[in-house]
Symmetry: C2
């Protein structure tokens, strides 16, 4: 696939949805011109290991190692260490494959030595042959807390252990207020020719990134157009509990609600054909809109969505405010 002259493309990314879009973008954008700012508020510690699920998903995707079906971990990975850990710990609700474990071991050791998450992530990207820049949103500790009817949960407890069965009452990003963008994050926004918000959960994937002081302001100030890909198809999140969370927090799960989350910096939106009835209202808010099949179940579909993002970005002017 021939690469476009896109200039710097910077993507705000969560996990699975972002990974699918990146599968489409990576072949189209020169690696040296692609930067990914990744949510780290899902990070957690398991068995003493520092796990960064979204960073790992992005790294594995760009390295061609990801399991595209499962949405996490390394394709074909085995689980011998985890089964052996269960001898000591009992049932493990968080799955870590044997190869995946190596990623966490390396990270844990380097963080313990005092290296920053962004330094470690850059080293991991190099080791895995990932040329685009993968930037954790912050080197500081930010954690998404899900306040449910059953109590306060870490994000992984809510999503993985409790399978998102509990009703969400509130979401907060502990530590966000005192956090700073990781080195390179603000520059990746300021220097971009195109800014992309991946089809990730706006509340728990993109929300934490925007909660790091300075990032939202940089997006508002940026000279490049900002294109978001809606993570919803016909009122449902493609993967994960995004729609359910939105409803629980009083937001209709549709592209308008997504646009509202990004209202102060968004210029354009890619939505699914199932949601094209929302296009006029999005346009009325001043947004450029493209609709197509956004279910990226194959490389071909991912490429089509990525093309739509690049096309929309190249024809959209930068606006400053929205009337959502």
């Amino acid at each position: 696939m021939s690469k476009r002259r896109t200039g710097q493309v910077t993507v705000l990314a969560g996990g699975v949805g972002a990974a699918r879009l990146l599968r489409g973008l990576a072949p189209l954008v020169r690696a040296s011109e692609l930067s990914v700012i990744v949510n780290t508020a899902d990070d957690d510690t398991f068995f003493g290991l520092e796990v960064s699920p979204d960073v790992d998903t992005v790294l594995y995707t760009l390295a061609g190692l990801a399991d595209p079906i499962r949405g996490w971990g390394i394709a074909g990975d085995s689980f011998h260490a985890l089964r052996a850990l269960e001898r000591f710990h009992g049932h493990a609700w968080f799955q870590i494959g044997d190869q995946d474990l190596a990623t966490h071991l390396f990270r844990t050791e380097r963080l313990a030595r005092g290296d920053s998450l962004s330094t470690v992530t850059a080293a991991q990207a190099r080791a895995l042959g990932v040329a685009p820049r993968v930037l954790p949103m912050t080197d500081d500790r930010v954690r998404t807390i899900i306040d449910t009817t059953g109590g306060r949960r870490s994000f992984q407890e809510y999503l993985v252990r409790d399978r998102a069965r509990e009703t969400v009452r509130a979401i907060s990003y502990a530590g966000a207020r005192r956090s700073r963008p990781a080195p390179g994050v603000l520059a990746a926004i300021e220097d971009a020719s195109l800014l992309v918000v991946a089809p990730s959960n706006p509340l728990v994937s993109i929300g934490p990134i925007l909660a790091v002081p300075g990032i939202r302001a940089a997006l508002r100030r940026a000279g490049a157009p900002v294109v978001a890909v809606s993570p919803l198809i016909g009122g449902r999140a493609v993967k994960g509990p995004g729609d359910k969370m939105m409803r629980a927090l009083g937001r209709a799960p549709n592209p308008l609600s997504i646009a509202e989350c990004y209202a102060d910096f968004l210029d354009a939106m890619v939505i699914d054909t199932a949601d094209r009835s929302f296009a006029p209202r999005l346009a009325a808010c001043g947004l450029s809109v493209t609709s197509l099949d956004t279910l990226m179940r194959s490389q071909v579909r991912a490429t089509a969505v990525a093309r739509a993002v690049l096309d929309l970005g190249s024809t959209t002017d930068r606006r400053r405010t929205l009337a959502v």
Copy 2:
């Protein structure tokens, strides 16, 4: 196999040689009457993981998980995590299997939380269904340092990384002087009806145990006879560089030199038939001696050696001093 009435049997153990003897002893001695005091001076940190090679070998052996051919690790273990670690670290000279990794992860996490090595080891023994008491010699940090013609090496660097090719000039046990026996160690010696020195390297496996202040004195004071199994067969160590190290340090690799290492507390010795010419001189030093085929290449042979140890122990009187 019917268990004997042995009373408490306490074994001083290194790695492979001790594991082979324990394979023979475990079916003969009631689990509640078997204690193993294990060398921890070979412990090291790899990939941020706290590895206790001799403790693991003893645990795996008593759990029936050990790889009896290789002498370390878990039988049938895979190495997927290690291969993945090599993406980040380059070639790994210390091999850790996927299941083995779980043991180190559990230990590392618990030690980091402030638990002692003996507490963690007891928890691991329980989890693995190991009923005999496995006691690290100390909860303090003691490390065997091998001073070679090429420089100072940790034990694992000397043995595994450099394959024991360098000539040994001196051996020391860093930290030993300030270390204390782990809880239960002195009692296991004092309360024993039989004390066994496993066929382990006297310089780097049993030596460090004896260097923990209080242990050697307890062995001297103990009321039970002390039986050592020679780790040599016809001047050669069955496994590892013991013979080479002994020669390098000016000691002939024969049962007399082994007896010398334990002269102040030894009562009896099991030697290989290949070394039976040494029996009269050992007897002249006041030792009871049995010779048989000590190469424990099968369960049958391990049982035969274990029986010889128990028999010799039951017919040997406790002496206080030797004339070696």
